[in-house]
């Protein structure tokens, strides 16, 4: 991303940073200051977002959120023309002001390419990585007839279109065909009646002339480098940068009050998920590990990952905990939700309960029973979003791979998922249901159940969802962003050790096995041996900031990362929750009989102290229908 227009103050003189994130419902402001040589979060403030009627001016919400920061910090940060810069004194003004935004529905895009699994998929990755919601991906071979494609394009009303297709020097006929369909559909932008819809062409260079003739007159056409110049290579950055530019020029410029806000900031306003993506990539660099990030909101769930050095983001636009909660039910089915419940369920009451959450999205669980149901739903929403992510976070499809003799017995197909749960180093969760769970151990177990990490994995949550602001800050001042992330944003829950059964073995046959024995040398030098039977889960207290040495010995048909039956020595990080040893199998083995399964779930709840057992038993014993 361009850092043009960024404050000219030398980095080492930057003392005070204000950053806001204008979300669809809430605008969040943070104040960061350099104290004793370190950047730290000082205070945060929030206020309702004011993009919609009756306010229709995003800066009102920004002012309200920054006002709260002023009140809490005792500083003066606002003037009529925005956040005060340059800083007049320690008590007045800031050195840098930045913002991200997902208000007004965020950035909504349509992408198009020639081949569904190749250029269209690359275009989708480019758009998602830039922080967009992809409304549809159109391609020559997507199975729809031309008139169906045209009517779909007409119906969509995206903020912009990304068109790709063809390798440089290849045929231009197919990409031209898609361009002509777009021209025929004459698509309209979502915002601003009468404005020209931006279209980014990132396909075969030789097709530029024809694409210009076809689309240049009626649409706002931009040309960038091909995202697939050759089949074996994917170049997403130029397209992503143009998406960010257009987001500022078009989408933001059409949204109420953004022209004013754009004048306030020292760097371009970024789409919130784009900024979070940058943040996650920085985490992977900072900690030198593979990272999986997830943000579960009311309407959508974003999943970010860095595996084998490749960043990917997906957004499940209709999986969330309030507005889209019924879609979670629709996609996963009632049985998949109730399998995580320790009590019996009346289908009708549970369905009504989920629907009532949808129509009254701002309510919060009052009774324990409500919390248990909500967290069961969260597991499924996270699981589905992750499944979706695995299908897009892949190597390039449809390409020939060079092989040598050593690869003969390792016939990997092209386009296999990059997601590898065994090499994954950290899971970072955010969003209300994970960040604000009454007990932190609940967040840990929700993530273990939904993602099922293997081997040794760190678990963390974003304390107050600062990732957007820290992501955009990283473009201006990476050190400040990294320091605040490490000290104030990340809440370390702890680590998990999860052995995986040998491939092809039925888990029923492992009932009598001992999946793992862990010998821990605790920070105080004491030794502790934990041996777990199949289906067990155990919590070992290990404080935040402390590290234990673990000698992990998997059972005969189990693997913890070194191969079946092979022991390994590893350092495990502590956290607010501690160390969780999870011997429930992968995938987690759930009993088939309902009564057995409920008992199994209760045992896990008890082992990890997930819920207050006395209150929970009241619901179970009363046999109350949920």
């Amino acid at each position: 991303m361009s850092t043009e227009g960024v404050t000219k103050i030398p980095k080492d003189q930057i003392q005070t940073i204000v950053a806001t994130d204008c979300g669809s419902t809430t605008t969040k402001a943070i104040l960061i200051e350099k104290r004793d040589g370190e950047y730290r979060l000082i205070v945060r403030g929030e206020a309702p977002t004011t993009v919609e009627a009756p306010f229709e001016d995003v800066t009102m919400g920004v002012r309200n959120a920054v006002t709260e920061v002023e009140e809490l910090s005792g500083k003066t940060l606002l003037a009529p023309e925005g956040v005060i810069r340059p800083r007049a004194s320690d008590e007045k003004g800031a050195d840098v002001y930045l913002s991200t935004s997902s208000a007004g529905g965020g950035l909504q895009m349509m992408v198009a390419g020639v081949v569904k699994t190749m250029t269209a998929e690359s275009a989708e990755r480019a758009a998602l990585g830039a922080g967009a919601i992809v409304m549809d991906a159109i391609s020559v071979d997507d199975g729809r007839l031309p008139h169906q494609k045209i009517s779909r394009i007409r119906q969509l009303r995206p903020d912009m279109i990304l068109l790709s297709g063809g390798v440089d020097g290849g045929t231009i006929a197919h990409v031209s065909q898609i361009a002509e369909l777009i021209a025929a559909a004459d698509p309209r932008p979502r915002l601003g009646i009468g404005f020209q819809l931006p279209v980014i062409f990132a396909g075969n260079k030789d097709a530029r002339g024809h694409v210009r003739d076809t689309l240049g007159e009626s649409l706002d056409l931009r040309l960038v480098d091909n995202i697939r110049p050759v089949l074996e290579e994917e170049v997403l950055e130029p397209a992503r940068e143009e998406i960010h530019n257009l987001f500022m020029e078009h989408v933001m410029a059409q949204a109420p009050g953004y022209n004013k806000l754009m004048g306030w900031t020292d760097a371009p306003i970024m789409p919130t998920p784009g900024a979070v993506g940058l943040g996650i990539q920085n985490v992977a660099k900072q900690y030198k590990m593979e990272v999986l990030g997830v943000d579960i909101g009311g309407a959508t769930t974003d999943v970010f990952s860095v595996f084998a050095g490749t960043f990917n983001r997906t957004v499940s636009a209709n999986l969330g905990m309030s507005y889209s909660i019924c879609n979670v039910l629709l996609e996963t089915g009632l049985d998949s939700i109730s399998r995580w419940l320790p009590m019996s369920v009346s289908e009708e009451a549970l369905r009504s309960r989920i629907r009532n959450k949808m129509i009254r999205p701002t309510t919060i669980p009052h009774s324990l029973e409500e919390l248990v149901v909500e967290q069961a739903l969260a597991r499924e929403a996270l699981r589905l979003a992750f499944e979706h992510h695995k299908t897009l976070a892949t190597g390039l499809k449809g390409i020939r791979q060079a092989r040598d003799m050593g690869d003969t017995f390792d016939q990997k197909v092209s386009g296999a998922t990059l997601v590898n749960m065994m090499t994954l180093g950290m899971i970072l969760g955010s969003g209300g249901v994970l960040s604000h769970a009454p007990r932190r151990v609940q967040s840990a177990l929700m993530m273990l159940d939904a993602f099922q990490p293997e081997g040794v994995t760190r678990l963390a949550v974003d304390s107050i969802f600062m990732m957007p602001q820290l992501g955009v800050l990283a473009t201006v001042h990476p050190e400040a962003s990294a320091q605040v992330f490490d000290r104030d944003c990340l809440v370390c829950l702890g680590s998990s050790i999860a052995p995986v059964p040998q491939e092809g073995i039925r888990m029923e046959n492992l009932r009598d096995s001992t999946p793992v024995k862990v010998t821990l040398t605790m920070p105080d030098g004491t030794e502790r041996v934990e041996t777990l039977g199949f289906g067990e889960i155990r919590l070992i207290p290990l404080e935040e900031g402390s590290v234990a040495q673990a000698h992990v010995e998997p059972g005969r048909r189990w693997d913890v990362g070194e191969g079946t039956g092979r022991a390994m020595d590893v350092e495990v990080e502590g956290g607010i929750v501690g160390l969780i040893i999870d011997a429930r199998g992968r995938p987690v083995f759930l009993e088939k009989e309902e009564a057995d399964r409920r008992k199994q779930i209760r045992n896990w709840i008890e082992a990890l102290d997930i819920y207050p057992m006395d209150a929970l038993m009241k619901y179970i014993e009363e046999g109350r229908a949920v």
Partner: protein, 382 residues
Amino acid sequence: MAHAYTPGLKVSNREVVRKTRRLPIKGEVTVEVGDMVQPHDVVAKTEIPGDPVSVNISQLLTVEPYELPDVVTVKEGETVEKGQVIARKISFFGLFKSEQMSPVDGTVEMISDVSGQMVLREPPTPLDVEAYVEGIVRRVLPEEGVVVETAGAFIQGIFGIGGERRGAIKVVASSPDERIEPSALDASCEGKIVVVGSVATAGILRRAEEVGVVGLVSGGIVDADLIDYLGYDIGVAITGHEDIPLTLIITEGFGPMRIADKTFELLQELEGQEASLNGATQIRAGVMRPEIISPDASMLEQLRDAPEDVDTEDEDESGGLGVGTPIRIIRDPYFGALAEVTGLPPELQVVESETRVRVLNARLADGTEVMVPRANVEIIEG
């Protein structure tokens, strides 16, 4: 500033409501500021460009795209009729001939010698936007639409399906928690907005369709009945475009739910009155709730004389919570209960789920004192 509670749904017999009536693309506004309009009056119109139809000539006649100029028999901009020859290939010195006919009536928009396809466009279709409510045109949005202001009874529901409709109100249920049988709907309900009590079952919805009901109002609906009637499940709460012959508005929530007394009494008062209703619901930023609007003649008279700049938006900020405010609890364990606020402790409290939240104390209708999260109540708006 921040509300820690859900703004209540409006239920009022005297409300000024503004409705923005907007075209999807630019067009012509057919009324002027100050005009009095009826629900079915057209206030703006436009022509939606016809559907484009692409014909892949190159593939159909097995010619290379660059050969298109030699085989097409029409020009860009030309009008064609369905069945008319638009391309002809002659081979072997005229021995073989293959032709491609136009699949539609329309005009030739594009002939591409790069992709080998021809795009035909069907004739445009006119689109009218109606006033939807009886009222006065308050503002003209040039080339886009108008703002119509009306006044009278205004009832917001919590969830609905089906679009804009109009009819007279008929209350069939004798009490707000009655569960009526489908047979209670008869020929007298034709063209009416019918209030059916605590629950609209799939049977009631089907019966309503049979007798020609235009709108149904109930306290709740059971999820399975909604799926049964629609034939599919609604995943995301964006409704209003369902292909159904009537509009359903639920006032309280999912499951059988007693209609709030105030709502039921107002509907009874409106018996026989004409009303506009819309089931469209959108529960995201820019919340849209289903509504019933029944204009009042004397209030409309006053509107006509009112100065234009009086701001009477229907999204007025509500007064906020205070001791004595009537509320409805909108989540278990007291879901649906009506209560009165008795205290607003400022400190965060821990509730049974161990969540630390801002709470309020309230007295339920039976006198019980309870503590509930502020986020789980809505003010009963007047």
